[in-house]
Point group: C2
Chain length 403, copies 2
């Protein structure tokens, strides 16, 4: 049994409220906590003493008090608890260790082994997780659990990966239970877009935005009034079939012709590059080969190749049509893009997207913005770890973890 | 000044909590209220006494108590408060009177006068509202206010109608202030789809659904976990430009070719009927002429005309593609259709829609359903009145009313 998680699971509700307030407002004093929580000062004293003794929070140097007792800022002790975050994209596998203060301590990105069955993947994640924890030198007993973000569709309640189009060997995989057996840790399974939006919400000041995920696939999530929408079946964001160009070329591809996936996922971009004579056809059953070919296409465009640039420019304009559909529907003032493919596409997409989306909007928006993620490429893994932290440390625990 | 609204605006927070609980759970006893509110029994006694004295609630015959004092069911007194609800669709103008128990007391549907400027419309609504209240014989002092639902885009915070494509003479109209001046009532302005979803949520047991509005235009709203999403600028649901058929015919029309509006709004359906030789071209600047022609088309189809049926069948299949886009994105298990045009289209649409939408879904949903509104054609007006009730009677008042 893990000491850290036991400590926190036995914690009472008020303790969770106080810890959560300190997590969200680092530097809050006991007086601040009393005001925001409504709890009695003696209760605050007792709880903060317990949390300090458990090494979950610590006192910083007091600020100069204007009058009366100095106000001592309380902050979360990063070493007090940890969570592992994993993100399985068909081409990239990310594993990281997040501390209770929200800092990524260690991070590892691998190329996702191809033609791998779920059992091999589970074993790889378990071994990599063990090594990450060992190499980081942290107290393993303080690791609360492992969060894993994967492409949908999922059955989050039972922890099962249903039939993601991009993981053809993964059908009805009990990934949460399997990873629990392989690691001995509590495991939380969630969709890549939901985990990504969660991480973005933590790092960004914005409370209403559309998040667009670009990886081996394309997906979306919505944050409204500071809440991540996850959908009634936790499968928000299947947007690949949205028609964005009725005149689009035939890619001879499984996705919908003229759809958003055909406009921007690496496989479709690579097929377009092949059709333009820019490169030979890679093995389309190998997401690593596709990923490498996509990288090559982006490098050609960055180097000034007109045909490569035209492909990415057209992709950006098609993506803008899709974003327009979503923004017109859900009414948000901000769009954030991220995911494993985003860093490679941003150079071609960012100069085009905002104006092109604006052109699609029915309601004119003076402050409308399109930006890249504030978190970076590991955001789905980081979000999965944040969801684990929330499960154990926030007062309203989700019911999505098995242990 | 209105006695009813004064009474309720001076009410304290706990009183609003108790009244809201009785509104949502008619028949609750004082013991039930104590349990659900957490307030002390003496507080409950005082508040219910005040509410009974103010004729806002009443006691029903006590049920047989198993032991101890009989439990007296409390219900909202329908005559305790009223709200006027108005819905301006370019072809239909609906005005109704809702009582505090959620019953529609009087309802009036007019054909929206065409080529009317906003001042004339405001005057018409004020006169009709006065007559509705007089003829209903209710106590005018107990009318809390008037809610009005209109097509977007709106600036709900300032109460201004911005530039709805279907009300060409309405540009930056201060409708809330103008209606307040004309009626002397507090006025709440909101979007047609938001008001409709609010009314549907009240009448239906479902807490997660997509609402599709079919009137002179097409729009949508989302209810998730029992909350109506309204969008960051209160302009949720602009879906008319979603591409649903890349091979769609050219209608010579302002809307996007192949878009959802071109697939199903009366004007587009009528143009298709004209192109098929079913009827002469009506005056397309006259929404009443369009509405009548649309009625004629639906009657032709209901009477077995193959060409008319083909138009509506194609419309249903295109609408299904649009619904598929929205359901895949937002992840809901239920779609509800309503609005002024729905009753005429439902006969052709309902047999087709559910299976056709299912065909579009990325996540398979055993329980997915498509249904017509439980409220009926007046649902936007009813929802606007419900929003007024909530503003005055619910503990978390919105900030959207001016008075």
């Amino acid at each position: 049994m893990l000491r850290g998680s036991n400590l926190l699971r036995l914690a009472d509700y008020n303790q969770a409220v106080i810890l959560d307030l300190i997590r969200r407002e680092p530097g809050a004093s006991r007086t601040d906590l009393q005001r925001t929580s409504g709890l009695a000062s003696q209760t605050i004293s007792n709880i903060t003493r317990r949390l300090i003794d458990a090494e979950m929070i610590r006192e910083s140097a007091p600020s100069d008090a204007v009058r009366g007792r100095p106000s001592i800022p309380l902050t979360v002790n990063g070493d007090g608890a940890f969570a592992v975050g994993v993100h399985v994209d068909p081409a990239r596998l990310t594993i990281l260790l997040l501390d209770a203060a929200g800092e990524v301590r260690h991070r590892q990105q691998l190329r996702t082994p191809q033609a791998t069955n779920p059992d091999e993947m589970t074993a790889l994640i378990a071994v990599s997780t063990g090594r990450l924890i060992r190499e980081s030198g942290i107290d393993r007993d303080r690791v609360l659990g492992l969060g894993i973000a994967v492409p949908g569709p999922l059955d989050v309640l039972t922890g099962v990966v249903l039939d993601p189009p991009q993981l053809p060997m993964w059908r009805d995989v009990r990934l949460r239970a399997d990873l629990h057996d392989a690691t001995g840790m509590p495991v939380l399974l969630d969709k890549d877009v939901t985990a990504s939006a969660t991480a973005e919400l933590r790092k960004s000041a914005a409370s209403d935005f559309l998040f667009l995920y670009l990886g081996s696939g394309v997906g979306a999530s919505v944050v409204t009034q500071g809440q991540v929408l996850r959908g009634a079946s936790n499968n928000i964001g299947e947007i690949g079939d949205i028609l964005v160009d009725p005149t689009a070329e035939d890619l001879g591809w499984s996705g919908r012709r003229g759809g958003l996936a055909a406009a921007c996922v690496p496989e479709a971009l690579v097929i377009q590059a092949v059709q333009a004579g820019l490169m030979p056809l890679p093995d389309l059953t190998d997401y690593l080969a596709i990923d490498d070919a996509c990288t090559a296409l982006c490098e050609l465009a960055a180097g000034g190749d007109a045909a490569a640039s035209a492909i990415l420019d057209r992709a950006a304009r098609r993506v803008a049509v899709g974003i327009g559909v979503l923004v017109n529907f859900i009414d948000v003032p901000r769009v954030v893009l991220g995911g494993p493919t985003w860093n490679r596409l941003s150079g071609a997409f960012l100069p085009v997207l905002e104006d092109a989306v604006r052109h699609e909007l029915v309601v004119s928006r003076e402050t409308f913005t399109v930006v890249g993620s504030a978190v970076g490429e590991q955001l789905a893994a980081q979000g999965a770890a944040e969801l684990v932290m929330d499960h154990f440390l926030a007062p309203r625990a989700s019911v999505l973890v098995m242990d």
